[in-house]
Amino acid sequence: MKIKILQEIIKKKASKTEFAILTNLNNGDTGIFEKDKKLSKNFENYRVHIENFFKSKKNGVIENTEIFVETYIRPTKVIIVGAVHIAQYLVDFARSLNFEILIIDPRGYFATEQRFPNLKIINKWPDEAFEEIETNENTALIALTHDPKIDDPAIKHALNKNFFYIGALGSKKTHENRCIRLRQTGFNEKQINSIHGPIGIKLGGKSAPEIALSIIAQLVEVTYKK
């Protein structure tokens, strides 16, 4: 690898630009891939494969070639609606699992710096909050208030933006009612069925950290199925 390329890589890392390092294991050639940017001609033939690695956030050797791809992809963004007790444990799990987290809760007495130190908290209603957050199909939503006034607008936004994971806290009954409301506002069955409700995998626990664990376990599972 040339020093020049090493320095370019370090620069891209510092600016959190998403990219991939490409290495030809046969001749030692190195290059950098960036989405929608021109690729040096030594690697251009492999563009489709490189883009697939990039999309699935994978590192490895492209099959039947000698091209090694190492991707640098930003962590998945997880938006938690409801600065409730479960959220406090979720934040700890999500941090050690390298998710990027932020919390939305219009209720000021829940979403305090003291309850959630060093975390981005948006003290607004979801509709307003989402105006200042960039979201896409690489974003996850965890709705925890089980208050339709707060959860529903967030879930609608997540459905419209094709979030890869949408989970909503609440009993089977609460979730059934939620589905009815979403149906009435025009969401189709496929969209509604994509919501994980009741949220989490079945661990059997009832305490706040146990529920947080079941939610984060489901999120990790879905992340790798993506």
């Binding site: 690898m1 040339k2 020093i3 090493l6 320095q7 890589i9 370090i10 890392k13 959190k16 290495t23 294991l25 030692g28 190195t30 956030k57 590192n59 490895g60 050797v61 090694f68 190492e70 991707t71 640098y72 992809i73 930003r74 962590p75 998945t76 699992l97 390298n98 998710f99 990790v220 992340t223």
Partner: protein, 109 residues
Amino acid sequence: MKNSFDEKILEEANDWINSNQKVVLATVIQTWGSSPRQVGSRMIVNEKGDFSGSVSGGCVESAVVRECLGLIKDNKPFKKIEFKVSNESAWEVGLACGGEIAVYLEQVK
């Protein structure tokens, strides 16, 4: 999920180079079976044999250092090496986990 942005091994390689050291990057490029570090894991080695980072759980690092020193000595730009569970004749080291890994070595020039 691994966050490659937070790993600082390439930055460290750059610091070493800036202080006039020769640096070889060793990167895990393939794994088979169970192996402790995932593809993309990296260590760096200088001409004195100092190293940072890892490519396994301590099983093959010493052999990687030896190979990197050889690369610098012979002034070769790159090399691919493989470690298997019991490859006594070639490496005298193996992966106790029962896995296999391929490591790509390259000099930064």
